[in-house]
């Protein structure tokens, strides 16, 4: 074999390798039949769930045309940080103009910034959605708070649990009331949970739980309060956002 033929063969091989570059994963085999002008959230945003598990309610978004009517057959794609899974990740809107997906959050505790996008005529419309994932401690805090605290602190009643909120002269704060609770330090929250309202010169209607709940449980409640605060605690924005 001559040197020239060898070189030619090598070049050919390199060309072939370069030529068949890997196809990027196509976003979907879906063929949209309409393009929308706006995308809004119907339900399923601002949920709180344990890490690594599917959120209780599906995320439902609606695509509207420029008259504001629901649009069928538009493509909606869901994006999130690494670790978040959507089932499905891309879907066409149904007859109600809605696209539904089940969201499984990643393994990190914190707030996740998700987006739902739909291609429009000239631009892509984006809808930001925030979901919160609770780690072990926050989830424990949620369970303990649901048992001991929510009867007074949650104004909403259900068939299983009637709220005591309206029966109190001094109304307690909801646990996601970030406007008030973010201003209180962790030590303050721990003090009021363990020693009752009088610890911070507040109403004695809040009893002391220091003897009933272990320090770990109280710390868990505080962690839960911090996790679900709206506006978010330590307003550095989303802890775990999209790259």
């Amino acid at each position: 074999m001559t040197r020239r033929s060898v070189a030619f063969a090598v070049l050919l091989l390199m060309g072939a390798v370069a030529g068949c570059k890997r196809q990027p994963a196509s976003s979907s085999a879906l063929k949209p039949t309409a393009v929308g002008a706006a995308i809004v959230e119907s339900s399923g945003g601002k949920q709180v769930g344990p890490t690594g598990m599917e959120l209780a309610d599906p995320l439902v978004v609606q695509v509207n045309d420029d008259q504001g009517n629901a649009l069928t057959g538009a493509l909606v794609e869901f994006h999130g940080p690494a670790g978040v899974r959507f089932n499905p990740a891309a879907v066409l809107t149904d007859s109600n103009g809605e696209a539904t997906t089940a969201v499984t959050l990643g393994a990190i505790t914190g707030r996740y910034q998700l987006t739902a996008t739909t291609p429009g005529k000239s631009q892509t419309f984006t809808l930001p959605i925030v979901e919160t994932a609770l780690g072990y401690q926050q989830e424990l805090g949620y369970i303990v708070a649901d048992k001991y605290c929510s009867r007074c602190h949650n104004p909403e009643s259900s068939a299983e649990q009637v709220s005591n909120y309206d029966n109190l002269e001094v109304k307690p704060h909801r646990f996601n009331d970030g406007a008030t609770l973010n201003k209180m330090s962790d030590a303050d929250l721990t003090a009021i949970i363990q020693h009752g309202g009088p610890a911070l010169n507040r109403s004695a209607l809040m009893p002391p739980y220091g003897n009933t709940l272990s320090p770990a449980d109280v710390a868990a409640i505080v962690a839960y309060i911090r996790a679900v605060a709206v506006p978010p605690y330590q307003s550095a924005g989303t802890v775990y956002g999209q790259k």
């Binding site: 001991y148 009867r151 009637v162 109190l168 004695a204």
Partner: protein, 685 residues
Amino acid sequence: MKAIKNYLSSLWRALFGDTMRAFGVVSVVLLIALAIAPAKDHFSQWHSYQNGYLSLIRDRSDAVSLRRRFTPGIQQIWLPELGVVDRCATCHLGLKEASLADVAIQPYRKHPVIPHPLDSYGCVICHRGQGPATTVVEAHYSQQAGVDPILPDRYIGSGCGQCHQNELTGTPQLNLGRKMLAQYGCVNCHTVKTPDGRIMKGTDDPPSLEHIADKTTREWIFSWLKDPQAYAVSATMPNYNLSDADASDISAFLMSSSTPRAGDNDAVLIPVAKNADPTAGASLYGESFCATCHAVQNGAGNLVGGDVGPELTRIGNKAKPGWLQAWVENPHTYNPNTLMPHYRFTPQQVALLVSYLMNKSDSDYGANVQLSAATPAQIAHGRRLVAELGCAACHKINGVGKPDNFAPDLSRIGSKPLAQLIFLPGMQHTLPSYIAGKIKQPQAFGPGLKMPVFALTDLQRDALTTALLSLDDRSQTMPDKLRVAGFQQTDYEPAGQAGKLMQDLACFSCHRIDGHGSDLAPDLSFEGSAVQRQWLDNFLKNPNTLRPALTRRMPRFNLSDADRKILTDYIMVVYQSPNIDPETAPPAVNPPALVEHGRQLFYSKYACQSCHIANTKTDKGYIGPTLTQVGSRLNPAWIYAWLKDPQALRPGTLEPNQKISDDDARALTAFLMTLKNSGAQETTR
């Protein structure tokens, strides 16, 4: 070409021409080759991760202290008792650093706060994986014998379940999964020996089929076998995916094997009174609190009611009216071990309930089922099917015995070696995905498999997988002192006439006494110390709404005076707490000054009105029991002990332990004992 050849041969001569030269060259090459291994050691993977950590912390505010706490080299947690050697901290350097809470990239993330210190437990106990490894692939993804890949975090509760046989607040999935193992009857076929030595018993209470022909029709059995969840959404019975012919044969066999229950044959349906209110049946159903145990799907499709007894949405399709009447009159004649109490209904009340329940039917259900009479061959085939499918593992059936070792033992399923598992195409080759996949599609894993399909949501399946993964080798073989015992049901039964009454009234279906029973209603083990006799007697006559925190209500049994006296005497005498001494207790009547002091403490210092109503005019708190009659309900000794430490008397109660001093407790008791019938009367519900 020639030039190359010349060049190569001259190179050869230069290097190896001379023996000495060859020796020297080979030695140098050998030394270089020998240096490769130490070099690979030095430039190891974990070394580069540690360097990455150092550059991560360099720009942080507390870089100095982070640097000081960093130890280079392989880090190891060694727990010889548990056979754990974990070298994860070699790369996962930020596990214990609180200031790294904002770091999102692995392997430098801080470990979430958990109840156990990492150094005493290691990592592999909860997360699985190969602890001794120091490379990424070997540590996280190795599937060699005896090693699992890292556990997906939705099953992380399984690690807790290895030691903790008790119910933990922080492991809702594990708790649910364990409950489901019993509730869905898995343990009726699969033996599960829990690590504390017990064989797990099912709590699904599958009905006996020995007298099934009295209860229902063959057509209903056919429709039920084809799809149990079509009859009752909450049915825990699984679907065997039977063909029409098989279901027909099985139903024929069950009808033919059924023996009559004495007393049913001569039942005559009691007619409903002509002038009865058309809603009387529904009212009686509500007043009897049937919904405490039975659920019904309402118009919106939501299940309302309890899950102790079967769902009654379509009971009219299922039950024969004669059977239903006999049942409502006295369930124990059909099933002596039923959880349903014997309500002492009048015949008219029985008629109302039966007509109300028989109206609960769905005309679409079983509408097209037409079964021709079965031949003996078909009946024999049905019997064979019943034996093969293992129906008798759950149900008592005439002529078919309970099978032994029908399904694999699951006591160590959490450590099943991968080499013994079969995977469906597209499944991840890990144990959790096998278990979850097997529960979802049991019969897809091979021909001739008999496990039926259970109607479970993904969340329920994950919970069940978590509970099963916690049953591994380590949980069965660990040293006893590391185990945390769980609650074990005792088989306590009260004696004598009271015992017979309690059995007849099925008190243990809701209440727990001395470790036996359910936690649907309060624990009565110390009820005699707690309440006053007269109040108990009145309560048993007319159970009223006492605790707002409970969603279920005690039914009214229309007990005769004599029966009530037996029960009240027994409870008052036998169910005493050894820790409550009436001799040293505060008195029932106290000086007014103390009472007033107690009243002030109630309203100002302890603000009890946030949860309790002492005076209906001023108080509205509706979490704890209303205290307007507490002076005639509870004993002062109990009140005093309760105020000092509620959790000692009822573990898990919502009442906070406020560390009330002795004097304050005495004053509060004095005040509470004066509350006897003030304000609005307690209405009977």
